[in-house]
């Protein structure tokens, strides 16, 4: 299935800000509004974006109604998820995409928002795995990744070049870019929203997971034949975990052992994840991935 791009944005376009999972600090919402306004866009907060209900921004009903409202609004050209955390999974089966398909728009976010990216790809549209409100608030105006995000929204697609890593597999591949947070992507394994392996260049990142839990997920992808059917693999940043002796090797080493047998291009240490250098990636886009001794080039084919 061909994935379609929503229209790119132009000045004064409306951008909805929602909090579909965890609650967020109001100063970060203000920062996101200021940054989007400085790009000459018109951001607004959905009703419960700054709400709080325990750990979440609102009840399932409240979070659902915000998201549905933003999806349905013809004037909204992009939806920024203020943050991840946990809770997007509650909404996955309850959203109606009828009106979205009449006026598709870009969804922006990462981490727990990965589940919503999978859902949007399932409905046939591309979306933006990219930094959220915190980065738009705390990083300076010249922040590399915020500016890549801005460029993409306005239709200027970047080329990424990243440094060589000793565990890389050399090669050149074309495929559909898909993925995101490993635990969240994995949470949709064998559901209708699971990522198809064929023609996919998969990217993964995670935060605060134990190495053996990551290894178990990679084993799952291996045992179920996902890994052998991929066109390429991008290993992003795995942060806030303890390298213990559980695996007897470091996490990248453990992943490298499991993917040793595949001859498609594989890139380690790509700048995507819970870090400042979190390059926006267009989920569902056709890309060319070229890995050689000089490094890695990722090019969007449009």
């Amino acid at each position: 299935m061909d994935i379609q791009f929503p229209s790119f944005l132009k000045e004064n376009d409306k951008v909805a800000i929602i909090s579909p999972a965890s609650k967020i600090d109001k100063t970060l919402l203000k920062g996101a509004i200021d940054r989007l306004s400085s790009w000459h866009l018109c951001p607004y907060l959905e009703k419960n974006a700054s709400g709080a209900a325990g750990y979440y921004s609102g009840s399932i009903k409240e979070r659902l109604s915000d998201f549905q409202h933003a999806l349905d609004d013809k004037e909204v050209r992009a939806i920024l998820c203020s943050r991840g955390g946990y809770g997007a999974i509650h909404l996955v089966e309850r959203l109606d995409f009828t009106k979205f398909k009449e006026s598709p728009k870009w969804l922006i976010g990462f981490s727990d928002i990965t589940a919503l990216h999978s859902l949007i790809q399932y409905n046939g549209y591309a979306s933006l795995h990219a930094p959220m409100a915190k980065q738009l608030t705390v990083e300076p105006e010249d922040d590399l990744c915020s500016n890549y995000l801005k460029d993409i929204l306005f239709g200027k697609l970047p080329d990424y070049h990243v440094e060589h890593h000793r565990l890389n597999h050399y090669g050149k591949a074309q495929g559909t870019l898909r993925g995101g947070n490993m635990s969240v992507f994995y949470g949709l394994r064998s559901t209708p929203y699971d990522i198809p392996a064929e023609n996919t260049i998969l990217f993964i990142e995670d935060v605060g997971e134990r190495p053996h839990a990551i290894e178990r997920m990679v084993y799952n992808l291996k045992l179920s034949g996902v890994l052998e059917r991929l066109s390429g693999l991008i290993i992003g940043q795995f942060t806030e975990y303890e390298e213990d002796k559980e695996l007897g090797k470091d996490l990248y080493g453990a992943i490298a052992d499991l993917v040793k047998e595949y001859d498609y291009p594989i890139c380690f240490n790509f700048p995507v994840g819970h870090v400042t250098d979190n390059r926006p990636l267009i989920e569902g886009a056709q890309i060319e991935l070229n890995v050689d001794k000089k490094g890695v080039n990722l090019h969007f084919n449009v």
């Binding site: 325990g54 999974i89 969240v184 559901t191 209708p192 699971d194 997920m217 084993y219 179920s224």
Partner: protein
């Protein structure tokens, strides 16, 4: 001619629409395995003097646990023996993947071995799962005993249509008294005397009566096999789950996976075991873990039992994976018995 072209066009449009419709209806169907749970073949029961191999297919065991297992099995008039690396240590594992594999394979292949006790779980069984040869095991099937990380081996053995025993391991054998109920149930099963379990009622239970094939184990480990050849077919299955030391949101995410993946709606019954050492965090508020799980399961009408004594606790009733059972839940409690 013009008319014919139109008709052909219409036909083509019609066919395309049909094709799109049929492919759409395919894509909204949940990817349920077409297979239905079938009861597994029971290996022969044990008799006095039978050989029992002790292996450590995942984490390293200590000598107190291993010696305790030997003493317990000897008390049952069995002949336990250690495979080569059962007491080994390699990082957190008992041995390298090759060493653990060779122990397991040797125990599988030995026609004199009538049961295999996994000394403990931990993490590491997944390394062995696609590397084990079943040719000799299928000729001389034997009982595999263990739980927690061993859940992956149970799934593998059920994949080969043989039953196995989800049961306490060496730690319980070393530290619990001779009179320990769960261990005595294990002994009874090994010698062919299948128990019936009665447990007290729980406010979250769904009443009803079901027959089905008993399968499951540790939720994280079972979930680790979703979409692989070793995944559990939901149809005809009475699933049991337990877990230890997970975050509440991780458990909820796994249950959502089973819900969105169509597993839950296709089960014949569900047994919620012990969820111990759960990190609840602030979002739990006043709701307890079971209550939250119950909310997710509210829509299912088959019998569901909460708080079953299976998990990382002393009262860890042995369950025969792959066995056909009847589960009956009413205001008097829960009854489970094996159907021959």
């Amino acid at each position: 001619m013009y008319k014919l072209t139109i008709n052909l066009k219409q036909l083509l449009i019609g066919l395309t629409a049909l094709f799109i419709l049929s492919s759409c209806s395919n894509c909204i169907m949940k990817p349920i395995s077409k297979s239905v749970s079938k009861s597994c073949k029971f290996p022969p029961y044990l008799k006095e003097g039978d050989k029992v191999a002790i292996i450590s297919p995942a984490g390293a065991s200590d000598s107190i646990m291993l010696n305790g297992a030997v003493k317990c099995l000897k008390d049952w008039e069995l002949s336990p023996c250690f495979e080569k690396y059962a007491a080994g240590v390699y990082n957190d594992y008992s041995g390298t993947t090759e060493q653990r594999l060779s122990d397991l394979q040797k125990a599988f292949d030995d026609p004199d071995v009538k049961a295999i006790l996994c000394s403990r779980g931990g993490y590491g069984v997944i390394h062995l799962i696609d590397k084990i040869n079943f040719t000799r095991f299928n000729r001389h099937p034997k009982w595999l005993i263990g739980y927690s990380d061993i859940t992956a081996l149970h799934s593998l053995i059920q994949h080969h249509s043989v039953a196995s025993i989800h049961a306490p391991m060496s730690e319980q054998m070393a530290y619990e008294p001779d009179s320990d109920q769960s261990l005595n149930y294990l002994k009874n099963i090994l010698f062919g005397k299948l128990p019936s379990y009665h447990i007290t009622t729980d406010i979250n239970n769904h009443p009803g009566k079901a027959t089905g094939i008993l399968r499951g184990g540790n939720l994280s480990v079972y979930y680790g096999l979703r979409g692989t050849p070793y995944d559990i077919p939901p149809k005809g299955t009475i699933l049991f789950i337990e877990d230890v030391g997970e975050h509440y949101h991780t458990i909820e995410r796994m249950l959502y996976n089973l819900k969105l993946g169509g597993v839950l709606e296709n089960l014949s019954g569900l047994i919620i075991g012990q969820f111990s050492k759960i990190d609840k965090k602030e979002w739990m508020n006043d709701k307890d873990t079971y209550r939250s799980i119950a909310n997710l399961l509210a829509e299912y009408h088959y019998p569901i039992c909460f708080g079953f004594p299976v998990g990382h606790v002393t009262e860890n009733y042995p369950l025969i994976e792959g066995a056909k059972i009847e589960m009956s839940i009413n205001t008097n409690g829960v009854d489970i018995h094996y159907l021959k």
